[in-house]
Amino acid sequence: MILPETTTVAADEWVSQHRYLRDSGLRFFDLLVAVDLGDQVTEVVTHVMSADATRRAMSRIEVRREERIPSLVEVFPAAAWHEREAHDENGVEFAGNGDLRVLITAADPPPLQRSAALEPRVDKAWPGLYEPGAVSGATRRRRPKPVPGVNEEWINGGRQ
């Protein structure tokens, strides 16, 4: 499947953009997903298509942690469940969606935010700290650079 270009939409045009897409025949609301881009910004992406799947459109919006984006339920009722999921997993707030009840998890921070520590990261030190062949206790010449998604404060085990 070849995905269409993704249009970046401002918050005040988020609903009208989707109404326009629906009214031009893209009546199937396929998905809405959220990705934590880091620096307190979450990206929300939607994919809508025509019933015969010949035409598609993707839209994206960036939302800062303390901001809300308007809900799409008045245009696409099917968006309700996806928004509830994005609220549950990424903590995105959708203004106008009256049913953002907990779906799977009530974790704080929500599990798909990059600040959320997975359990092994809290319980143990980063295995990447080990230097092959080093004499135990010897001073390390250089500290390995953590990869993206590994927070500095987790490196030695978050609970210490």
């Binding site: 997975l118 092994p120 990261r121 143990k124 980063w126 295995p127 990447g128 080990y130 230097e131 092959p132 062949g133 080093a134 390995p144 953590p146 990869v147 998604g149």
Partner: protein, 103 residues
């Protein structure tokens, strides 16, 4: 090879210890921190003017209780020492028993 299984099925991960240089790249890139590696260093003072150090891999553990089959370790390995093995990890009564030494 399991009969009928697609060749690159994500069953479990195979390590070719002879190819592994203990570079730690896979250990550091694994998103769920489930790889642990131990390597011993031996120094031969008679090889060359300053001697030569070699690393010998003694332990390469993947905790299949945590591994999510993402394949990042396989993708990042510079020596292609890791590969998919189309054999699934059996279920176990205790998660701790899924921590498997591949060496």
């Amino acid at each position: 090879m399991t009969a009928g299984a697609p060749r690159r099925r994500r069953g479990s991960i195979e390590l070719d210890a002879a190819k592994c240089t203990s570079c730690m790249i896979c250990v550091r890139e694994c998103p769920v921190w489930c790889i642990e590696l131990v390597a011993d260093k031996t120094h031969d003072p008679n090889a060359g003017p300053r001697g030569r150090s070699t690393l010998e891999l003694t332990d390469f553990r993947i905790d299949y209780g945590l591994c999510m089959d993402c394949g990042i370790c396989i993708d990042v390995c510079p020596t292609d020492a890791l590969a998919w093995l189309p054999v699934s990890v059996s279920s176990a009564a205790a998660a701790s028993t899924l921590n498997t030494d591949l060496v």
